[in-house]
Each structure stands twice: as C-alpha cells, then as structure tokens.
Symmetry: C2
Subunit: 308 residues, 2 copies
DNA sequence: CCGGGACGATCAGTTTAACTTATCGTCATG
DNA sequence: CATGACGATAAGTTAAACTGATCGTCCCGG
C-alpha cells in the first residue's frame, strides 16, 4: 500500500536528484529513503527513479508520479491547515434550543447583534420546554440550548451566562403603598398564578414560594407569561416575573416589586453535549446574551414599578 | 503526521457512522480503527467524530476532513491506476540515436510506419557515430540507440533487431563476368575504400577484409557511404556495402556482389541503459525496424547486381 | 595502475508504529 | 436486574521503518 511518506521521499528525490541529499531533506538516513523508494516502485509496479553512475533521474513515470504526489501532499497540507486553522466560533449551522420563558425577551435583543457579530452563523431556533430541549440535545437534534441551569445531566456540559432575578408582579392599585422590597412571606396570602405543567419557570416559582407557605393559593395552566401577566393586571393573583421579561411585560396596571435580600433568582446558561465541540460557540454566544441582557436591566424594575 | 490510513478509516466512519462496522470495512479490529481516529484527531488538533450513546456522528470539521480525505484518497487511487496501467511502448518523448551507416537507409522506410503505429511517439533523432551515441546514451542525453552490435558496455542492455549482410561493391564493367558469389580473398588485389575514422562500418570492413590480406590497399576518409559509392562507380576501388543500403546506393555503374558463405554480416540492434525502463520501447521499435528492413531485402541484391 | 572518495544498495539490529485479543465502563433494553 | 451493544483502554505481539555499518561500483587524481 502506498503511503504519503513514500510520496514525500519521491518528491525529495525529484528536487535533489540525489538520494543522500533527499534523505537529508527528509531528515532520515539514506538507506531509509532508498528502501521507501523501492517499496513505492514495487507497489506501483514500475520504475520511478533511474539510478545512474553519477546522477539520479526520474523516469517519465517517476516524473508523473512525483507531480501527482506533490499535488496530493499539497492537498494533505491544505487539509491540515484547514483543520488546524483558528476556528472562529458561531460559524455555519447552529441548531439552538431556547425555553419559552426566555425566548421572547432575550432573542429580540440578542439576535440583531448576534447576526452583526457573526454574519456566517446560520441559526436554526427551536423553542420548547427544557425537558424536550435536553432530550433533543442529547439525541443530536440540537447543538446548543439556552435554559435555566442547572440541568444535572452528566452527558451535558454547561456554561452560566447571567443570573435573572425573580420579581413579584401584582396588580397596581392606587391605595397600595409602594414597597421598596418585598419579603417572600408577604406572598402567603396571595393567589399565585403559574405557567402550565412542564415550564421550568413554574417549578422555580413553586420552589421560591412553595417553601414559604403550603397554604398559598395557586392557579395553574397559563401557556405564556404574557397571559399570566394579563391575569395579574386584572387582579386574579400575583406571579413571579423574571426580571428579563420586565420591560416587555410591564404595564401601568401591574406593579413589579423586587424581593428583599437574598433575592431569588435563576441562572440562565447554555448547555451542549459534552461530546460535542461546542464550548467555544457557547462562550461566544454567552457573551452576546450577556450584552443583550445588560441593556434590558438598565431599565430598573424597582424604579419603574414606582410609577405604576 | 497524518497518514492515508487514517483518512481511509475516517471515511469508513463517515460511511457507516459506526466504529465496529467501519473497522470491518477496513478489515481491522475496532480498537485499531479507534486508535487511528484518535491519532488523527490529535494530529489535526480538533474533534472529528462525536461519540454519542447510541450513535456516532462526524462534527462539521469531521465532515469536511472526511470530504477532503476522500478526495485525497481518490487522487491516490488515480495515481496508482496511472502507474499500474498497461504501458503502451513508444509513447511520449524518445531520444533516439542512430549511426550514419544505417540512418539514411532504414529511417525513410521505418519512420512512416513508426508514426502510423505509434502516433503518440515524439521522436527526437540524433545521428552520429557509435562512440558518441554510446556516450550520450550513458550520460542520459539519449534514451535508445540503433547501432551495430555488440557494444560491450556492461551498463547497456541490447536487443538484436536483424542482421545486415556486407556486399562487395565494385565498378560495373562490361568485360567482368557476373560472379554469383565472391570469395573475400578475391578482394586482396583491390583498393578498399573506407569511411573516415570513427565509423563502425569502417572497422567492420577492416575486420572483414584486413584479416585476409595485410597488403590490401586502403583509401580513407569518405564521410558518407554515398561518397564512397561514387568513388566506386568511378573505379577508384571497391567497398563493403551494407545490404540495407543496396537499393538506395545502387547505380548501373556499380556491381553489387554477395560474398561466398559464410557471408560476413553485422548485427543491427538497439541499446539502452540497463537502468532505464526502455526494453519494451526497444522491443516495439525492433519489430518496426525488422518490418522496414524486410521490405528492403526483398530486392535481392544478387539478382539486381546481375543487371549492372 | 592504484588509492581514495562519492554514491546507492544491502544487511543486521533496534526502535517505533500498528495491530490483536481481552477487558472495562456506560448506556439502553427486555 | 441481567444482557447486549458500543467505544475506550490495556497488554502483548507483529510488522514497518529507521539507523549504523558495510559492500560494490564508478570516477578521478596521483
């Protein structure tokens, strides 16, 4: 079987017309090169090199083989260059999953700058609940997901992007005095409105509030935060609103209040198969997301809530 | 250093998406293939294959490397096909040397059929004396020579093409009775006309005649057989004419006579560097030369000489 | 005519690469 | 929970490649 090494040695012969010097070029001893050339001639079944008294020359076949061999070696070098190139992240197809409690608030701000900074990124976005995202990610149908961490799946690697505070959203009423910070226990007497089964935000809200008071009233089943907020505006109860959603979901009829320290929050991050080489993509994407979130959080919910 | 074997294994993975089956395709065991793939990934410095629970997939890089690798392997296969192809003789450049006592008589007949049978032969012809031809052949400036054999150079390989009788050429005179065959000793009283120093034909003539009679008269210096024959026609002496030249050099004023048995003759053949792969060219060329000579020798010099 | 030097081939022995068999660890399945 | 599939890993073997020494030939200068 012919090898790249043999082709390298042959091209060295073509260049030097001398076994000894060709061997030196290849950093091997002359017998090693001689043997490889003989091996090549035998496997190709023809003479490539004509050994004469004072000179060495390639036969017509040898010249053609050397020419083709050089081209092949160049292709191999190109392949190596390609593989070892600086790999810019976020190039080509990226199948990105994102949960519904993040997508409508983060994507409108993140996508424009993402496209601007990574014009060769071909993004395919899938929005669904965490469990489906994780399943599709592990199955290989997605490359990267944006979700609330941790996910606790050993086959996934994750990266924290930013933390997202939970705010209390309640109906704005004139008689209510504006409260700077709210203690979670103050929710105990309220109706807690939640998203339907399967949303991680629902579980997070429950873990924040449920721990406080088992007798809290819960209303189930809204399929989007937007729906929940309409209910809140009309006095059906309160809900936990991610700070990220604040400026979009805010209305005059809703009051957004920060919790007293320690404020409950969720960690938003990225996850990918540990076996896939997506870390650099994740890191680049995390930066973009952080920038997008930063511009949101400038609109301090605390201050705006005062208006409502 | 990346190897063709590694590329083969990677393309097998690309085809099967399965280490075990890829290994079977390559006729090796699975660990062998796994190790080569790891080796390849390490030398390229990037992941090519994503090993997942139930499936194996190529990364984007892996797909590109496999694609390029397949192209490289195809080039290698083409190279092998090229080298192992049936090699038709007499294709491409052939630097052919030929001695002056053959060229004018053989080439006019041989070249047309040579070009007809070997249209891809690019012939470059050099005509000079044997010593120069041999030197240039050994030096690598010629590929093949046509000369009188033997040459007795161990670095050359030779092939006999055909034998060429020596005829006696003497002035045609009315009073001479036509002699069917001439004994070499009959030349003892004649003036022997020879080519100039360096022509092998001169040495051959000398060895034929000189052995007989040291007192034979010799006239030296003609630079072509044609000149010699003019001298013969005008009665300046006799000469030895190669039968091959008979039909071209014959005139009414010259009588051509065959020697009595055993007729002296020279062996016309081909020579090439033993280190060069020109045997098949020589064999093909020898056939063409033999055909060309055959059509000449149909003109029996004995019969024609009778006319003169 | 002889001795020395250059060159590629060859040989023996060693190092390195590649492979095989056996086994492990993980995960999915019945 | 046992089983089977799969790729990784380990240990040991086989095969490839290389080195250093030597050979044989040729050439060249004395």
């Amino acid at each position: 079987m012919i090898t790249l090494r043999q082709l390298r040695y042959l091209t060295a012969i073509a260049e030097t017309r001398h076994f000894g010097r060709a061997a030196a070029l290849c950093h091997v001893t002359q017998p090693a090169l001689s043997m490889q050339i003989q091996e090549l001639e035998q496997s190709l079944g023809c003479h490539l090199v004509e050994r004469r008294r004072n000179a060495v020359d390639l036969t017509a076949d040898g010249q053609e083989v050397a020419r083709r061999g050089a081209a092949i070696l160049a292709s191999v070098a190109d392949l190596e260059d390609y593989a070892r190139r600086e790999k810019p992240p976020l190039v080509g197809l990226l199948r990105l999953g994102i949960i519904p409690s993040i997508a409508p608030y983060l994507l409108p701000r993140a996508l424009p700058s993402l496209h601007e900074r990574y014009p060769h990124l071909e993004l395919r976005i899938r929005e669904t609940q965490t469990a489906s995202l994780v399943e599709e990610l592990i199955r290989g149908d997605l490359d990267l997901i944006i979700a609330a961490l941790p996910l606790d799946r050993p086959e996934l690697d994750t990266l924290n992007a930013f933390q997202d505070r939970f705010l209390v959203a309640r109906q704005a009423r004139a008689h209510r005095r504006k409260s700077e910070r709210m203690d979670p226990s103050a929710l105990a007497t309220e109706h807690l409105l939640l998203l339907e089964e399967g949303h991680c935000l629902r579980d997070q809200a429950l873990s924040v509030c449920g721990a406080l008071s088992p007798n809290i009233q819960m209303a189930f089943g809204a399929s989007s935060l937007s729906t929940v907020m309409h209910l809140v505006a009309n006095g059906y109860g309160v809900t936990l609103l991610p700070e990220m959603a604040a400026d979009i979901e805010r209305t005059d009829r809703v009051q957004l209040i920060r919790f007293a320290d320690p404020e409950p929050m969720r960690m938003i991050g990225l996850a990918w198969r540990r076996s896939s080489p997506r870390r650099s993509d994740a890191e680049a994407l995390a930066k973009v997301l952080l920038d997008a979130r930063a511009s949101v959080s400038l609109a301090r919910p605390q201050q705006k809530a005062v208006q409502g």
